[in-house]
Structure formats: C-alpha cells, structure tokens
C-alpha cells in the first residue's frame, strides 16, 4: 500500500525514483525471460507495446490517426467496418482443447489401451473360433464387448468428472457483460464493451471498469486502480497530460480492465481486445507451459508399473502356455484374462472421485480447485511464494499505535476491532480522537478509512460529533505542503473559539508546533520533548507503519470572531506555533489467522517466502509479525548492525533470514538467486514487480521444490501459470489471474492455503491406501489364471467376474478410504520429496502383491477347492484336467467318486467356483479395507468406527456380492450362481489372518523404527 504514494506520509526512505527504475527494468526482464521461453515472436509483439506513441500525440493528431472526432465520435458504419477488421473487444480465452480430443484422451489414457488390446484380442479369437465353426464362440465376442464398454464407461466417467470441475471455473470466469458509454454518430450511446473499436470516444466515471486501452483527452479528478496490471494498490491519478515516455508510466493512458476509482474522463480507444496491454500479458501467460501436476506424474508412474507387470506376466505366461502346447488361440484367451486380472479397471475412476471429494471439501473451506489434480499439489508443496497485501494482511489500513504523553500505546488490529486504550488517558485521547474524526473523510482512501474506523470504535457515532463540530474551512492534502488542515466550531456552545486542527507528515507538523500536550496540559516543546518525539517516530517508522502527526490550536476568540472570513488560499490564520498532540501510526495488519498458519507451514516443512511490491521495512515488519521471519532470526543487515561491522564482513551463512529488494534482485545472476534461496530459510522479497515473481518461482523450481504461488494481478498470471500450483485470490484477483491459476482462494486468506496443504497431504496418503487396497486383490485375480495355466485346473474365476469385483464390489470401499482421517499429525512432517516419496513405491507394490495379495489368493483357493471337493472333485482329481474338463463332447466326465458329469453340469460347477472365488475375495477385501485404514498405527488407535464411510463401503461390498450371487445368480451370462451360505465363511480365517498379520506388521514398524522391517514393510 505504501509503495508508490509513499510521498504522502512519512517512512520515505528510498524515494520514488528507484521504484520507477525497477519497473522499467522489469519490463526489460520480462522480455528477456520471454526469449528464454522461445517465444520470440510473442516477445516481438510485446515489444510493440513500447512503441505505442499515442500518449505523445496531441488530440488533433489522434483524431487524424484514428479517423475520428472528439465531439462526434465514429460513425456507426465506420465502427462496424473496424469491428469487422479487428474483431470484438474481448480477450480471446486461452485455447481450450476441443472437447472431443479431451474425450478421446480419456478413452486411450491410463489402462484403457491395455483393455482395448484385450477387447481386440477377444474379437480376434471370436473371429477365429467362428471361422473354425466352434460351438460357443460368442463368449469371446461378449467379453470383448464388455471390455470395450468398461473402457468407454470409465472414459465417459472421467471425462464427466473433469468437465464438472472445469465448469465450476467457467461459471467463475463468466463476467457480466460490461457496458460502455460511447459517442458515435455524435450521440452518446450505451454499448456492450466488446463492440468497442479503435477510435471510439468513450466516457468513464468513478466505479467503471475501463473498457479498452484509452488515451485520455479529458479528465477530471480521475483516479484509476492499476493494481490488476502493476500490483500497485494505491489509486493513481489520470490526466490528459503526457508525463512519461513509457506508455505504462504516463498519466494520459488508462488500461483495459483497470478500474476508475473516482472522477470522470473521456478518451479515445487506442487498442482493443488482445492488443491491449492486458491482452498481451494474458497471452503471455497462456504461453507459459503447463507443467504436469505431481499427482499426474505419480499416477502415470503407477500406470506404467501396473501395465509393466500386466504385460510382462501376460507375455511370460503366453510363452509358457504356448510351450506347454496349448493352442495359440487358448493362449491368447489366457493373455486377455491375465491383462484383465492385472489391470485395476476401476482405480482411475476411484482416484478421480477421491480427488473431487477432496476438491469439494476444500471448496467448503474456501479453496476452489480448478484442476482436480491440483488438489494434491498443495500437499506436496515445499515452498509457498505468498503475496503480502490481502493474503497475509487484511488489506485495510488500521490504526496500530498511538503516541502521546510520551508513551506508545498499541491499538487492537484484529479483524473485529474492539477496544483498546487505558482509561486514565481519556482526556488527551479524547482530544486526539476528536481531531481525527472530524477531519474530512474521503471514501476509498485507505488511511482516512482507518482513522474513521478507529474513531468510530472509540467514540461511537461520528456523524453526530461531526455535526457538533461544524467545519468552517479546510485545506486538503497535497504533496507540497504534506498536511491537511481544517477549522471547526467547537461542540461547547459556550466556547466561541474556533478550533484549528492539522494532521500530516510528523516532522512537518512538529515544525509548526511550539508546545506539546502532555497529560492534558500544554507544555513548551523543548529539545528533550522533541527528542522523545524523534525516538517514538523512528520506532513507529521502524515497524513499517505509516505515521501521522497531529496538532491543534484554539484560535483566540477576539482575533477570530464568529464571522471571521477564513480564506484557505491566503491562509489568513495561524499555521505555526501550534500545539502538538501526538502521533498515530497505521499499518495494514496481518490477518489474525496468518501467524498460526505460517507456523503450521513451518512445522510442515514448507518454506514461506513473501514476495511483495511493498517497501522492505513494511514487508519485514509484517513478515516478522506473522512469523515468516521468526523472532530469533536475523538478516545480514541485522547482524551487521548488532556487531557494528559493515555488511560485507558478515558471514552470510549466519543469517537465516533475508530481505531482498527488487533492485538487488534485478542485478543478481541466477546463481546468486539460487544461493539466496538455498542458504536462507526465511526470505522476503520486497519491492518486486510481478514479473520478478516469475524469476523467483523459477529459481525455487530449480531447487527441486514444488512451488505454490499466490497472486491477484494480471501481471501475476505468468508466475501463477509457471508455479506448480497457482493460487489466485477470489476477491481481489483479476480474471486473468484466476484463469491462470489452478486454485482460487475465495476468502483471499493465507490460512486457507494451510487447509489446502493439509487436505492435499491427506489425499496423497489416502490415495496410497486406496491404491494398495485395489492392487491387492489383483493378485488374487491373477493367481487363478496362472495356476489354471500351469496346473491345468478348471478355471477358478472368470474374466467377467473379475470385472464385477473391480468395478462392482470394490468401488465404494476404495472411495471410502478417501474419507479416512490422518494417522498422525500430517502437518508435522516435511513435504514429500517428489523424487523419492512416490505414490506407489516398491514397498507398497511388494506388500500388496506378494504378501496380502497372495494371502487372499490362498484364501480364495481354499474356498474354490472346498466347493469342488464337496461336489465330488477332490483337489487331486482337479490337477491336469483342464483339457478334458473343457471338452464339450465329454459328457460323462468322472469325478473322484465315480459320478459322471455332463459338460454343462461341469460348467455350472465352474461358475459356482467363480462365485465362491468372488465371494472369498470380497470377504478378504473387507479385511483388506480395514487394514488399509492405517499404514502405521493400529486400527484400534485409529478407531474402527470413526470413518463411517468405510462401513458404508463394507456393507455395500457385501450387499453387491449378495445381489450378484443370489439376485443375478440365474442370469447365466454373468456366470454367477447362487452359493451355499457356508462358503461365504471359508475365507474368513484368511481375512482374520490378513488383519492380524497387518497389525503385527504395524506393531513392528512402530516398535522398531528404522529397522529392516520398517524399511521393507512400510509403504
């Protein structure tokens, strides 16, 4: 808030000049950076913006250039012509991938390709069987169709999920059509802003958004808020004068999408749509490549892993099968089975659902996630580059300290200011506050609002006080005199004196005073008291606060009677020898939730870097108060000051904190920047332009960090895009920023980011659990195929049955794991290292595949053998029977007891086997679901019933299995048969074994951290 207009009140250290230089420098840097991104052409385009000459031209030259007239405007016909040539005055939305491409991507992404291969193989074998005139070739046709349907359905589902989350944003970015007041055909017309063309004469007034880049030809008290463009939040005045070579600096150009805060103006449209300055930056942002999100990388890694396992096992057993002299056709069918068994068909859909559940949860906590995958990115974030204004602070000036009676008092700066000062001081206080509140209040001026608010809290109804102290004269603030003065009648009816009050830059005010009020009495202002003033002033200034001085004077009644004509131009009243009342300092205070949030980030191992356009002193003060710079750490400058040595002699390694000025940053090489980012844990970048943000972000990413960036301005959008996760401000943010960001903070509050981090980490953990849960049963599905091929037993489980597990019983439970609470304090560990802490690591895969998965397979095989044995086929009989068993012609197949079976009777028994296998896997998956609730803690520590959704999952799982077995048991195509009730319990001992084994595993992990067991068993 202080930056550009710091010429107003106090805390003037570097002056405005270097700021301007910084900005110009930044422009250059921006272009440099663009070239680095191989966007030379765009860079050239952007350069043209500097060639903009319009601000230098006179009105008549402008009229000539654009073929328009200031009074009459363009003719409608001409305007239509130009509109046809230039296109509408709106930003081209970032090039969206065509819906059909998005859809097709879902169709072939992930495991889909494997399943397509499976489907195609099914159809091929169907074709061959049909050609051979085999008896039941349609099985393979159906299987192929089912596989294709599965792929298409999951694809549609994923597409729908993605579209839904994109729609949230679409509604967000949709703006109310803007209107503009245009002069055309010598008439004033209201037009939709996108109809504007170059050469149009538009009128704007306070509150309007500037509809295009316009060169002002008339302005009255016009101020624009350029914050969305430059990041400066102080409104800037606009006039028709050419004040600066740089079109961005000159006062006679107002930019598209900025807001006119007050006053009125008329101007000629000089650029529309994408050719506006904002338009160019927006297209720059779309040029910054979109990085893959960490979770996308993880999922890809996982898909490769599973696909690799599926393909290698498939091919291996294809070869084994062929070398065992099975028919090629049969071997192909085995291959399909192996692929289907290995691929967790439902998993990607589950992951999408889990992510969108988290996204919903985050939306409730004011984090709106645009891109589903970004949900997790926050969790892996290791550096947050945060804005100051609005994000860390409340974005409103608030009175923070008062100095009077030689003492500093602090005011309550929390969001809901109550009160504050000690009683005994009432008299002086009162005086001071009256002085404050009766001054002119300009709506929109941050300082005035702060004072007003403060006074309101202290005194109550200001309007009343103001009415009683009628104002008779006023000199408004200007930059030369640096004070504001007003003369009032007093509220004491007996007291006929006028009261003169004045506020302004403290040193200027003090100059005009000869006395000072101490404890309600005027005392002469001697050097000792002046010293006290200086100390207080420095102290308040050192806290980065904006300090105001106040003084007053009762004008003697005899000299200034009731009717005295005060003339503010000739100043026919005293402006010196006044009585100094005190100092008051204001700051944009940190949000009360921020310090806590920052410390949470700290303990979560996340480095919080403040990047602000604000003054270093203010930035440092805020950084200290919110804990970005902790109380004990020092910057190089602090150390130098403490040890009283020059800055150069300080060992830079000793300083944990650093405050880097934008100016310094500009001259730094990348290595130096890297060094700073590496060596200091607490960094504040002050006076940075939004373009420098991009450099900082890239620097952080070079360190291998996952970087979150917050921003609100248009100029932030490249950095937001570049960041691993861009976070835009929902309230203060510009549309361009929101478009470039992955996430929108609806309440602009930094604390919401912490919630996001927490949710992100939780979902990462829970996705691990979900994947572990899902992968486990794949082995139980795969083993039957392998044993079927090797031991030639009747097929234990059918391909369709596998699909019913993957897409039926397992779906709800695996989503339910997304509701699992964190096991330990998730915010007390470091962010995951994206190179090492994989979503699916070796331990997870091995533990799921080779331990729990095998247990499940064994349990299911016990059920399988039980079903066959109780029907007459003892396990010994089953080995090696496959060829005869599947022979359609053998209808007197003998079992272990000498009974004879027809083919269909055997098939029906085989389906009963499928059902039994299915039921066993389901039962053991219940145990698997329970053990997956935690990775480290005992289930009993976690609470078996805390996550109710898990139970919904368990009941749904069993419910679906019951429906499939008993409800659909008579639909032969599904290969389910009604199952004897006792077979449901055969696998229960194994389910219990799984639970017990996993509890033991977790116990050892907890008991012996770092041991061999821990390293190999903890996933």
């Amino acid at each position: 808030l202080l930056q550009k207009k710091s010429n107003v009140y106090s805390v003037e250290i570097y002056g405005t000049k270097d700021l301007e230089k910084t900005e110009i420098g930044d422009e250059e840097e921006k272009y440099k950076d663009l070239k680095g991104n191989n966007k030379k052409k765009k860079a050239e385009d952007l350069k043209k913006e500097l060639d903009l000459e319009d601000h230098k031209l006179s009105t008549s030259e402008l009229e000539e250039k654009y073929g328009t007239s200031i009074n009459k405007g363009l003719s409608s016909a001409r305007a239509a012509e130009i509109l046809a040539r230039d296109g509408p005055n709106s930003l081209t939305p970032p090039k969206a991938t065509p819906e059909i491409i998005k859809f097709l991507k879902q169709m072939v992404g992930g495991f889909s390709i494997l399943l397509w291969i499976g489907a195609v193989f099914s159809w091929i074998s169907f074709g061959i069987q049909l050609a051979q005139g085999s008896e039941s070739p349609f099985d393979n046709l159906y299987l192929g169709v089912v596989l294709a349907v599965v792929v298409i359905l999951t694809g549609i589902f994923a597409y729908y999920q993605e579209a839904k989350s994109t729609n949230i944003m679409a509604s967000f970015s949709k703006m109310i059509p803007q209107q503009a007041l245009v002069i055309r055909d010598a008439e004033k017309k209201e037009l939709s802003a996108d109809q504007l063309v170059v050469g149009d004469i538009v009128e704007i007034k306070g509150g309007d958004r500037i509809p295009a880049d316009i060169r002002l030809i008339f302005a009255q008290g016009c101020k624009v808020d350029n914050s969305s463009l430059t990041g400066e939040s102080e409104p800037q005045s606009r006039s028709c004068d050419f004040t600066h070579e740089n079109p961005l600096e000159t006062r006679n150009i107002a930019f598209y999408s900025t807001t006119c805060v007050e006053g009125t103006a008329t101007g000629i449209v000089i650029n529309t749509g994408d050719r506006t300055v904002i338009g160019r930056i927006a297209s720059l942002a779309s040029g910054v490549g979109n990085e893959k999100t960490p979770i996308a990388i993880e999922i890809e890694h996982f898909v490769y892993l599973v696909a690799g396992v599926a393909i290698s096992i498939g091919v291996l057993f294809f070869i084994i099968s062929v070398s065992m002299q099975n028919k090629i056709l049969d071997s192909i069918i085995f291959l399909i089975g192996i692929i289907v068994a290995n691929v967790p068909e439902g998993l990607l859909a589950t992951v999408t659902v889990s992510l969108s559940l988290t996204a919903k949860r985050m939306a409730k906590k004011n984090c709106l996630v645009k891109n589903l995958e970004a949900v997790e990115t926050l969790g892996s974030t290791s550096i947050i580059c945060s804005d100051k204004t609005g994000t860390l602070t409340q974005n409103r000036m608030t009175v923070a300290h008062l100095w009077f009676d030689n003492q500093i008092y602090s005011a309550d700066t929390s969001e809901d200011q109550t009160t504050l000062l000690m009683e005994g001081q009432k008299y002086t206080c009162y005086k001071l506050f009256v002085l404050l509140c009766i001054q002119r209040v300009v709506v929109g001026d941050a300082s005035e609002t702060a004072l007003l608010k403060f006074a309101e809290v202290i005194l109550g109804d200001i309007m009343d006080i103001r009415a009683r102290n009628k104002k008779v004269a006023e000199i408004p603030f200007n930059s030369t005199n640096k004070f504001q003065l007003s003369i009032h009648e007093t509220d004491d009816p007996k007291d006929k004196r006028f009261l003169l009050v004045m506020k302004g830059a403290p040193e200027r005010i003090l100059e005009r005073c000869s006395t000072i009020m101490i404890n309600g009495k005027e005392e002469p202002l001697d050097s000792e008291k002046a010293e006290a003033f200086q100390t207080a002033y420095m102290e308040l200034g050192g806290m980065g606060e904006r300090v105001l001085g106040f003084c007053h004077l009762y004008l003697p009644e005899n000299e200034f009677p009731d009717t005295y004509p005060f003339d503010t131009d000739s100043m026919n009243f005293p402006t010196s020898n006044l009585c100094f009342v005190g100092l008051l300092s204001m700051i944009d205070p940190p949000r009360s939730t921020v310090p806590d949030a920052v410390s949470k980030c700290r303990s979560a191992g996340i480095k919080v870097i403040m990047v602000t356009g604000d003054h270093p002193i203010t930035a440092k003060a805020i950084a200290k108060s919110v804990g970005i710079i902790s109380a004990t750490s020092e910057t190089v400058e602090d150390i130098a000051k403490r040890l009283n040595i020059p800055v150069e002699q300080v060992n830079r390694r000793e300083a944990t904190a650093a405050v880097v000025n934008g100016m310094e940053l500009k001259d730094m090489s990348l290595q130096q920047l890297d060094e700073i980012l590496c060596n200091h844990s607490e960094i504040v970048f002050a006076r940075t332009s939004p373009q420098q943000k991009l450099i900082i972000v890239e620097g952080c990413q070079r360190q291998g960090a996952v970087v979150a960036v917050t921003g609100d301005g248009v100029n932030d959008s490249p950095a937001l895009k570049k960041a691993d996760i861009g976070i835009a401000m929902g309230i203060a943010g510009s549309d361009a920023a929101k478009n470039a960001a992955d996430m929108v903070l609806l309440d602009d509050n930094f604390a919401s980011i912490v919630t996001g981090v927490e949710e992100g980490r939780l979902i990462f953990d829970n996705l691990k659990k979900t994947i572990a849960y899902t992968l486990t049963k794949n082995i139980a599905e795969l083993c039957p195929f392998l044993i079927y091929i090797i031991a030639s037993i009747p097929m234990p489980i059918g391909t369709i049955t596998i699909l019913f597990i993957d897409l039926g019983t397992d779906i709800i439970p695996s989503v339910a794991l997304a509701y699992e609470k964190a096991e330990s304090d998730i915010m007390n560990r470091r962010p995951r290292n994206k190179r090492k802490d994989r979503l699916v690591n070796q331990q997870l895969a091995v533990y799921s595949y080779l331990q729990i998965g095998i247990m499940q397979a064994v349990g299911a095989f016990v059920t399988y053998f039980t079903v066959y044995a109780e029907q007459g086929f003892l396990p010994s009989t089953l080995l090696g029977v496959r060829v005869d068993w599947e022979n359609n012609a053998i209808n007197d197949f003998e079992d272990s007891y000498g009974q004879q079976w027809t083919k269909y009777q055997r098939m029906y028994l085989q389906w009963t086997g499928y059902t039994a296998f299915f039921v066993s896997i389901t039962i053991q998956q219940v145990a698997d679901l329970i053990i997956r609730k935690t990775r480290r803690n005992s289930i009993f520590q976690q609470g078996l019933f805390r996550n109710k959704v898990i139970w919904v999952g368990i009941f749904s799982q069993i419910g679906i299995a019951l429906i499939l077995t008993y409800g659909l048991g008579h639909v032969t195509a599904l290969n389910f048969t009604p199952l004897r009730f006792q077979y449901w319990f055969v696998a229960v001992p194994f389910a219990i074994l799984i639970w017990v084994y996993d509890e033991v595993r977790k116990l050892f992990i907890r008991r012996y951290p770092g041991s061999w067991w821990d390293k190999n068993m903890y996933y």
């Binding site: 064994v858 029907q871 903890y1018």
Partner: protein, 323 residues
C-alpha cells in the same frame, strides 16, 4: 514420519551415493524408482546410451555391489523372509485343506445337487456326435466297431459272471450296512444286448447299414432313477422329416434301465459296478442322408428338455449312413 523423508533431504540430488551407513540400504531400495523417474522427467535430454548405462548400473552396481538395487545381504534377508512367509502360508493352506478334506466322506460327496439329474452319453464315441459311414467301405465303420468292442469288453458275460452277482430284476438293489463295506454289483451281461451285443454280429450291424448305438446314463451316487418305475429310452428325429427314422429296436427289454442296477455306491465301495446300457438298433434309417436323432430318457425325475444342457436326460447325434 517414515525414514524416507528424513533421509532424503529436499536438496538431495540424484547420484549422491555416499550415504550414512544406516541410510545405505534404504537409499538403494529407492534406486529403481529414482532411475525410472529420471528417465521420464528427462527423456528428452537423455540419450539411449545413458539409459542403457543406468539400466546396467541398476542391474549391477559395482560401486555398491548391488544387483537390482539390493546388496547380496539384503537379497538374502528378503529371500529368507519370503521363504518363511510362504512356507507359513503354504502350511496354513495345507492345514485348511486338510481340515476341509477331513470333513468329507470318502464314499459319498457332500453334495450331489450339481450332478443330478443324470446326463446321457452314447457309445461308440470317437470325436463328436456324428456317426457317418459307408456300408461298402469297412474302413469308414471299423473305428466305430472297434470302439464298441473295446467298450463292451468289461461287459463280457465271463467277466460279469466272475465279478458280479445276479440280482433280482425290477427292484432297487439296496445294500445296507456300513458305508465303508464293499458293495456288490449286479451283472450286466453283454448278451443282454442281443443283436447289439457284437457276439453274433461282430460289426454291430454297421456292415449292414443298421448300426447299434449304446446309450448309458451318467452314474450318480445314491440316485434311484424313475422312482420305482424303470427309466425307458425313446428316440426321434430331432429336426426334419419324421419318416427318416422308421424303426429303432431297443435292448434289453424295451429299452429300459432295470432298477436293480441302482443305486450306485461310489467308486471305492462299488468297485465292479458296470453301468447298465440300452442298445439302440437303428434298423431303418434313411440312407445317404444326415439324420439328426434325439434319444431321451423318460421317467419320473428325469429332466430332458433343458435348453442349456443338451446332454441332460437326452442326447442328440447325427446318423449318416451311406451305401
């Protein structure tokens, strides 16, 4: 938190192999993942030679003496673990199977609901249910005849008389006593099949274009077909002209399965049990024509009209007799 994060500092770069001793093992465990990640992230900038090199290091890292990311000791430990683990699991599996098998009776399966009602099969059976031959070419029917002789060898009168007893016809031969006691079997002599016995006509009528086909009912332990009334066999043309099949002779009797052959007591106790047969003598079938024939069992409790199972209580085969 897990050991991974503590070992892997954020700044930890690739290829910093010298870790502290306690982290050593773990680092290696992470190696494969790492390599893969790197491959993906920097695919563009990496040559295949680099990749091959990385792969080679992964397979055998001479510096750390690791194979596939593990040292010999580490491999030993993990293999030992899995050896124990799978041994225990196999033990548990074996125990469960043992307990399960203990619950089974060796004489009668626990359930017989899937195997009944009985299915039907025919002999001769070569490879399919089409019996096609030319009377004038013995080589076309000789395999059928051989198959019949082979099948009927067990029914030779001598063999039957030697092993089995004569039973009272017309009633179930119920043998009480202990389940484990050996059960007697009733004689089913080949000669009962008369013209289809192959005794008088060793070609079973094939040489005359009047083939015999034997029909047998699947054995089911304890099953008493027909509920007191013998199950009979009938044949008809399955689809097409009824006149293609003009006459069929059935032996023995009128094509019935005598009750005395039931119930069956299972392979272990009913060792010499021979399934009763019904011979169907197709004496007048249209020649030079594919004649699809369905022969079904008829009797109480017999199901012969289920679409899904075409061998349940019936059998469909095609006769094609050429001159």
């Amino acid at each position: 938190m897990d050991g991974n994060a503590s070992a892997g500092d954020m700044e930890g770069q690739h290829g910093t192999p010298h870790q502290k001793a306690e982290n050593k093992h773990e680092e290696k465990v992470q190696d494969p993942d790492r390599g893969e990640d790197e491959t993906k992230a920097e695919m563009g900038s990496k040559t295949w030679a680099d990749l091959a090199g990385e792969m080679k290091t992964f397979l055998w890292n001479p510096e750390e003496r690791t194979c596939l990311g593990r040292t010999a000791k580490s491999w030993g430990l993990i293999l030992l673990f899995y050896l124990i683990f799978y041994t225990c699991l196999a033990g548990m599996f074996a125990f469960c199977m043992y307990v399960m098998l203990l619950t089974l009776s060796p004489y009668t399966p626990t359930y017989r609901d899937r195997v009944s009602p009985p299915g039907v099969m025919i002999r001769p059976y070569l490879n399919g249910f089409t019996i096609a031959f030319n009377v004038s070419q013995p080589s076309t029917w000789q395999p059928y005849v051989d198959s019949m002789h082979h099948f009927l060898a067990a029914y030779d009168d001598k063999v039957q008389e030697e092993k089995n007893i004569e039973c009272i016809s017309g009633q179930y031969f119920i043998q009480g006593g202990n389940e484990s006691e050996e059960k007697k079997a009733c004689q089913f002599k080949r000669s009962l099949l008369q013209n289809c016995s192959g005794i008088e006509d060793p070609t079973f009528g094939y040489s005359k274009g009047k083939p015999c086909i034997l029909l047998k009912m699947n054995r089911i332990i304890g099953y008493r077909p027909g509920a007191g009334v013998p199950v009979s066999v009938s044949c008809k043309v399955q689809k097409g002209n009824e006149s293609n099949l003009r006459s069929v002779d059935f032996y023995p009797g009128n094509g019935t399965f005598d009750l005395m052959y039931y119930p069956y007591y299972g392979k272990i106790t009913h060792v010499n049990y021979t399934s009763p047969l019904v011979a169907m003598h197709f004496t007048d079938v249209k020649k030079n024509h594919l004649v699809p024939i369905q022969c079904s069992l008829n009797g109480k409790g017999i199901v012969n009209d289920v679409n899904s199972d075409r061998f349940l209580g019936r059998i469909i085969f095609t006769l094609s007799i050429g001159k």
